[in-house]
């Protein structure tokens, strides 16, 4: 059932993709902040991957020290503004709020956080200074959340930082990969510009590092290298017909949408394959782009989906239908996609069995594969002695984020396999401290 009209203008697109967590106004922030109990050893702090002193920044908002609140937030998380908006707060800080135990709505921590940082960013007032120069230089590969957090932290420690970014915008998946109803490009880029202006790291855009020679140059020129390279393109499903027109990876689809908004053509019938948060986003987005029928297909049961419940609910509320316990076995179509052939699945002895004798076709004009991104495996081969785990994730020291090649540090999706912006922000920051420790000791 279609809930949304196909957007034909930027205005219509904005209407369909209205930001889910709206910015608080002063009055709302005042009343909401007044509810915080200022818990001792607060569970929200423990639940935040970056351990922001949440009761403190809420108290600071309450006393109209908004700038102080922003500083408290950025001190712990350099992407505090974006995280306030895109974090799955219901399962992190807000999920841990003690009010949940007495059936009182938890404090809206994410929105309060966004309120403080957004307001401070808009003043353009500088609240951070780079550290005194120590003469050392660090190269950061990838201007995603991990790389940016690492760069900011390194600047406060006095390092010169150059970020090498393959694309033409900073923030990685925050700007290319998050559903547009969660955060706008302006909101993301504003925060990066705010921090870059006062901390002064450089970002070299359209500067993909892809060869051993390039890495050698970096190794010679810089004292250490941070890898914040994320993951690659959507992985292949190895299905017949996968290469025909109309089959697209979710990451690529979302990136197209983030960059081109209403100009992206989404046909009437869309099938989204996958059960993770990205699948929910892609399905939701297809529906909001006016697809008359969007079907989410997952090979296991609803209970086993990797997606958060609220993400699934959001997709359903956008008008998405769902199919569970079905696996795609073939993409049907001659020149363009015409449908997906599915087989029913069953769990036998804990293993997923595909019942080839029970198949059916769902007609569609577009297939979005949200079945995970491939790792940057070929790139890793360019780095000497870089240990990877069996899932091709970079192995790091969990405290310093140093890789098996001591000159290299890493964080973000390339290390954790694909997590939230907040996890990447934390790992990037910790890696910066790891780099500082290593170079100071050296």
């Amino acid at each position: 059932m279609a809930e949304y009209k196909k957007p034909t203008s930027e205005k219509e697109f904005q209407k369909n993709f209205k930001q889910k967590k709206s910015l608080m106004n002063n009055t709302e922030a005042y009343y909401e902040s007044s509810r915080c109990l200022f818990c001792y050893d607060a569970p929200c702090i423990q639940a935040c991957p970056t351990h922001i002193d949440i009761p403190l920044f809420i108290k600071q908002i309450q006393t109209q020290n908004t700038e102080g609140a922003a500083k408290t937030i950025f001190d712990a998380n350099w992407l505090g503004n974006a995280c306030g908006i895109v974090c799955p707060t219901g399962v992190l800080c807000e999920g841990a709020c003690v009010f949940n135990h007495q059936d009182v709505p938890p404090i809206q921590i994410g929105r309060l956080q966004n309120y403080a940082t957004n307001k401070t960013i808009n003043t353009k007032k500088e609240i951070f200074k780079p550290g005194k120069s120590n003469g050392k230089k660090i190269a950061v590969i990838g201007a995603g959340p991990a790389g940016l957090a690492c760069a900011c932290e390194l600047r406060t420690l006095g390092y010169t930082v150059d970020i090498f970014e393959a694309k033409d915008k900073p923030s990685g998946l925050t700007v290319y990969g998050i559903a547009p109803y969660k955060i706008s490009n302006e909101e993301v880029l504003k925060e990066v510009a705010y921090l870059q202006n006062q901390l002064g790291f450089t970002i070299k855009y359209n500067s993909a590092i892809t060869t051993k020679e390039q890495l050698k140059i970096l190794e010679n020129k810089y004292d250490s290298i941070f890898l914040g390279i994320g993951l690659g393109k959507t992985a292949d499903l190895q299905l017949d017909g996968e290469d025909i027109e109309g089959v697209i990876g979710a990451v690529e689809f979302i990136e197209d949408l983030r960059m081109h908004h209403h100009k992206v053509n989404v046909p009437n019938k869309v099938v989204v394959i996958g059960g993770g948060n990205t699948a929910m986003d892609a399905a939701s987005e297809a529906a909001r782009m006016g697809a008359r029928k969007t079907v989410l297909a997952y090979r296991r049961s609803k209970k086993e989906m990797g997606a958060y419940g609220f993400e699934y609910d959001l997709a359903i509320s956008a008008g998405v239908d769902s199919l569970f316990n079905v696996a795609p076995i073939e993409i049907v179509g001659k020149e363009r996609v015409e449908g997906v052939k599915f087989a029913k699945t069953e769990i036998i002895d804990g293993k997923l069995q595909i019942k080839k004798n029970n198949v059916f076709v769902v007609r569609c004009d577009m297939v979005i594969k949200a079945t995970g991104q491939a790792k940057q495996g070929s790139f890793y081969e360019l780095i000497d002695d870089l240990d990877l785990d069996p899932k091709t994730k970079i192995v790091v020291n969990q405290e310093t984020f140093q890789t098996s090649n001591p000159m290299y540090f890493a964080g973000g999706d390339a290390v954790n396999g694909g997590a939230e912006v907040v996890n990447a922000a934390y790992e990037g920051k910790m890696a910066a401290q790891g780099i500082n420790q290593w170079l100071t000791k050296k």
Binding site: Y31, C39, Y40, V98
Partner: protein
């Protein structure tokens, strides 16, 4: 159904809810509107030689999301000509003959007192209230709290008033004094028919952090105002109790003023001996309609307890209010946490550890956030139960068997109290206190 009507020193009113002399009683319009809404009486905004007021007159203390928890004003007595006020008093009495209209007065000379009393009586006022409390502006001119702070002068003026007054006289006291019994006794001895208190408390409500001027700001400057609102209620209650327990002063009725906003406040005031209450800030905040909550609540309370009139329970708390030296030192309570209700905020822990007696322990399991009471350390101070955000989660449980009774007074007579600095009879001797250096290890 309970009968709320009162006879306060001869002033009859359909209920004990009166408006205090203040901005809400500035005009006949407001008082008529209030009587329509259900108020039983009103003390007219103080009459005298009209003043000139400043613009920017009120300031407030907002606590978290609560507006006007405390309130102050630098407004003076009426700035309207006496004749206008008298005409309106007459008109109000014509429409509401059974409601109490009391004229608050503040003038300087005996002659003026005698004249204005005659004027308001002629206009139909049911009583007079002498404003000896206003702590700003008027006191600089020798009136208001300047009188309230000088018991001899206060007594003299009450005597002047009583020489001529035909209607009952209420003396309104200022709390800006070290012992309320001094002006209370002076008023009684001067022959007052009743006492009302408290007037506002001298205060600076706030400072503007950009201009460094006190609030409310009048062209860059400010002055002390009179503090009132819910925040002052405990001070008012203490002073009402002091007068109500005094053997002589208590012979005249007390009209209680200070932070009354809800029926609970009203009942508390009556339990302390007040037989009418006066309200201002609550009306300035919510309008006259706030009476609905007060009246229905008071009626409900009286029906539940089986009281027919407010006199059935007036002063009922007084026998239980005694001096510290008469409190039972054998009575012991300790805190008890209900784990089913606890939400794990750990405020009780930190409040006790930092602010009281180190009698609450955190669980050793980091995933279990319900603290526990260290019973042998608990002195029964109540702090944890006060900070706990969950209703009835921490309760104080009596642990003595109730058979023993000894007070400081009794122990003093029996020579059982500590008298030297290192006396073994010190109450806290041997009580557990962590070592000073434990503070440095306690960084859990």
């Amino acid at each position: 159904m309970a009968d709320l009507s009162i006879n306060f020193a001869g002033i009859k009113a359909p209920n004990p809810f009166w408006l205090a002399s203040a901005p809400p009683t500035n005009s006949g319009y407001q008082i008529m509107k209030a009587f329509e809404a259900g108020w039983g009486g009103a003390v007219w905004k103080t009459l005298g030689v009209p003043v000139v007021n400043v613009s920017s007159r009120y300031g407030s203390v907002n606590y978290r999301d609560t507006r006007m928890m405390g309130f102050n004003n630098i407004e003076l007595i009426t700035d309207r000509p006496l004749a206008d006020n008298l005409k309106e008093i007459e008109e109000v009495k014509k429409y509401f003959p059974d409601h109490a209209v009391i004229a608050s007065l503040m003038v300087e000379s005996k002659k003026e007192w005698h004249q204005i009393i005659k004027d308001v009586e002629n206009a139909g006022a049911d009583g007079i209230e002498l404003n000896f409390g206003c702590p700003h502006g008027m006191c600089e001119r020798g009136m208001g709290s300047a009188v309230g702070q000088e018991p001899d002068v206060l007594k003299l003026i009450v005597e002047w008033v009583k020489e001529v007054a035909k209607v009952p006289v209420i003396t309104k006291l200022s709390p800006n004094i070290s012992d309320i019994l001094d002006p209370g006794l002076a008023a009684y001895q001067g022959g007052t028919d009743a006492i009302s208190l408290i007037n506002t408390i001298k205060s600076i409500i706030g400072i503007d952090l950009d201009t460094y001027a006190p609030l409310p700001v009048v062209d860059g400057k400010g002055t002390n105002g009179g503090y009132c609102g819910p925040a002052v209620k405990p001070i008012a209650m203490h002073m009402i109790r002091e007068l109500a327990q005094h053997p002589e002063i208590s012979k005249v009725p007390i009209s209680g003023i200070g932070g009354v906003e809800t029926w609970r406040d009203v009942v508390e005031f009556i339990l302390l001996g007040a037989t009418s209450v006066q309200v201002c800030t609550a009306v300035m905040h919510y309008g006259f309609g706030i009476i609905r909550e007060m009246e229905t609540g008071l009626r409900q309370f009286m029906d539940d307890k089986g009281y027919n009139t407010i006199y059935d329970f007036a002063g009922k708390a007084l026998p239980n209010i005694t001096e510290w030296k008469h409190l039972n030192l054998e009575h012991k309570v300790i805190a008890k946490i209900n784990p089913d209700k606890c939400v794990g905020c750990e405020l009780c822990y930190i409040a006790c550890d930092d602010g009281a007696h180190q009698a609450i322990a955190l669980s050793k399991d980091a995933t279990y956030r319900i603290p526990s009471i260290i019973e042998e350390n608990c002195v029964g101070c109540n702090l944890c139960s006060l900070v706990c955000p969950v209703e009835d989660c921490i309760i104080m449980v009596q642990t003595d068997d109730g058979t023993k009774h000894s007070t400081w007074d009794e122990r003093t007579i029996a020579d059982e109290v500590p008298v030297t600095f290192n006396d073994d009879r010190a109450g806290g001797k041997g009580h557990f206190v962590p070592k000073p250096t434990d503070a440095l290890k306690n960084n859990i």
